[in-house]
Symmetry: C2
Subunit: 414 residues, 2 copies
């Protein structure tokens, strides 16, 4: 199939400059980004996106959960748009590209279509979904979950951060960031969704291949474990009288790692632990810790989830334990039509490509329940992500944007 003029209009230097400008907002000393959902920094990033959109003549809108949309009109404005995008929130010690790339590649693609003089029947919208990361308000994927009707607005609005501030409390900050934006309801018909993202793993770099055609997203279980012991004085309380929640939690973490994190196919992480009172001279009364389990096979995942409680109980000495699941998602497979369109675009652009299954969760999971969906991955340095050292090459980012631009043209005219 012949390629449109859009990919050739993608400007590598311009795309890189926008990444560096966005990364200044919430920049950390170590070269990363701290731009958590609904923070001051995230609001400033929203304002910058809206400023770019206005300069390019695109309409900006926000829905009731503060998902931000930038629209390039189609020749038939009544048709459902093709959507692209990702998120601009980050982990507290996140990188410059996770999420941001999908939004900036989306803007770059719209601009490339303009410069190539291409009209599409369908409108194309680039979206920044609210709170993909979930580090401040857990669990994440809030914007895409609300959009896809997978989670009620009121439930999301009530989620509070560790300081007790709720999503509802801070939503006004997001709306205030784009005062000129049209307000929309949550959720509308979409013809297709394509999300560009850094791989966040080592496969593309190791293979020396610039384009990943993503076939699906591996399932995940997010759990919490609460170990309850009793506060006691470190100097006077004998071992036999202790109920040490921190020690018993440590036993559980080690046992879970040994029993569940069997090999490289299993992904098991305890990344968060909150200890009370968390002072050196007091035996801990309570520990709450997180569990994140992922596996491509949904049955295996369900079996691993079921093992957690027993492993924790077997690690008990004198405390009590409680385990529960806060979020679960089966593995999903993307739409064949969208996956094939992305693959054909890469092939026609003569860019090396391979099919991949995503280890990380993305907003595309939620969209896959309401419209044909796919993802484009580009390599990131050493596969490092959720880390201030996260990096990607300008050339790889531009290649991904070229595949995205061509994919959008085909979907919006298809």
């Amino acid at each position: 199939m012949s390629v449109s003029d859009a990919p050739a209009a993608v400007d590598e230097a311009r795309l890189w400059r926008r990444h560096m400008s966005l990364a200044e907002i919430g920049a950390t000393a170590k070269g990363g980004v701290d731009r958590q959902a609904l923070s001051e920094e995230e609001a400033r990033a929203r304002a910058l996106l809206a400023e770019w959109a206005s300069e390019l003549g695109y309409a900006v809108s926000v829905d009731g959960i503060s998902n931000l949309f930038i629209r390039r009109e189609g020749t038939d404005p009544a048709l459902a748009p093709v959507l692209t995008g990702s998120h601009i929130d980050s982990q507290p010690t996140g990188g410059k590209f996770d999420g941001a790339y999908g939004v900036l590649a989306g803007i770059e693609a719209l601009q490339a279509l303009d410069e190539a003089g291409i009209e599409t029947a369908r409108p194309i919208e680039t979206v920044a979904w609210l709170n993909e990361e979930g580090s401040r308000f857990a669990p994440g994927m809030m914007g895409s979950e609300a959009f896809a009707g997978l989670r009620p607005f009121d439930e999301i609005a009530a989620v509070a951060d560790r300081g007790g501030t709720s999503v509802a409390d801070d939503l006004p900050r997001a709306f205030a960031a784009t005062p000129g934006a049209e307000r929309r309801g949550i959720g509308f018909p979409v013809a297709a969704f394509v999300e560009a993202h850094i791989e966040q793993g080592p496969a593309l770099e190791r293979a020396g291949i610039p384009i990943g055609v993503v076939t699906g997203i591996q399932g995940v279980r997010r759990m919490r474990v609460r170990v309850t012991g009793e506060e006691a004085h470190a100097g006077t309380t004998p071992k036999s009288a202790r109920r040490d929640a921190l020690w018993e939690a440590a036993r559980m973490v080690d046992a879970l790692q040994r029993r569940i994190h069997r090999d490289d196919e299993h992904r098991f992480t305890v990344g968060m632990m909150e200890i009370r009172p968390n002072v050196p001279s007091v035996v801990a009364a309570e520990v709450l810790f997180s569990i994140d389990i992922r596996h491509p096979d949904s049955d295996t995942l369900a079996r691993l989830e079921a093992e957690v409680d027993g492993i924790c109980r077997n690690s008990l000495v004198a405390c009590d334990v409680e385990t529960w699941t806060i979020a679960q998602a089966p593995s999903i497979w993307f739409d064949d039509g969208v996956v094939d369109t992305i693959e054909s675009a890469a092939v026609d652009l003569e860019l090396g490509n391979m099919r991949l299954f995503s280890g990380a969760g993305h907003d595309a999971r939620q969209l896959s329940f309401v419209c044909p969906t796919g993802m484009i991955f580009v390599p990131c340095e050493k596969g490092i992500s959720h880390n201030e050292a996260e990096n990607a090459s300008p050339a790889d980012l531009a290649d991904g944007a070229r595949v995205l631009a061509e994919t959008l043209v085909r979907l919006a005219n298809g």
Copy 2:
């Protein structure tokens, strides 16, 4: 030996009322106290002590590190005073009696001497030492260490809490709490120091004995362990590529508990753990945890301290580890003369008593390096301390204050 009229003047109800009044400052929902060093709450507690002292006609003074002194004059003001007291700061989820008892028993003893019409040759001063607990500014015992010349003022002043506020930043708040207090230099000659305290262990209650005559304080090592790994994405990073600081710290905590916390004679606690970035979907890059080891035998303690580094290294998988000691104290034995005086007072008052070695550290340790020192313990419910449920009986508290009053009379006239 005949008993003075002071013990009979000790007023159980008054002493209990003062405990309940002081406990209102920083009161927690669960009946405990959060009154950390140099906080707003601790400043209000200082103001209340000064108010009581003024009502009773005692002079109030503060030294350069904000130790607070309440002085009952002697017939020879030039003689070095006998000192009693403890501390009014608490753990973040502390109880009503830890520290507070020693200060309030001291005030009660002074008032009992007044009411009994007893004059003493030496002045008697009741002191509240700065920051015994060390939960906010670590390590604790700051006031008594400065007083005893064991730690330079500048080093203490520079210690910062987790929010970056230093002792020097917050000292003005303590001084402002007692505007009428005379300012004094740090450290002066003391004839003897006697500290009354709840036992914080179960021995007196189990034995049904109201008075503990403390013979010494067991040694302690306070250490820190830093485990350094690498931040990585929980969904995409295979086990073989991870350097998970939280998992490896958990392995260390469990190994240390099994190897060092051998039996009830050994006291080993990991009570504090700080994890970075501490979010569910990110493999932890760094964990810092505390170690508190205590044992009556100083050689054993030194041997246990020396084992820590090797045990941590043996638990490593892919991270790095660093261990260091932040505070060390050998076991100490109190002055025979003071211990005998306390014991005789209890015997002469016909109060059941037993000799005890203290598992917890106290300001009396520091004072023991500069003057003859001893301690009086009273039972606390189930031995529970450093806990909001900490409790003691009004009768036991009053009995301790009676022994204290008589001991002070004997030391101040001795």
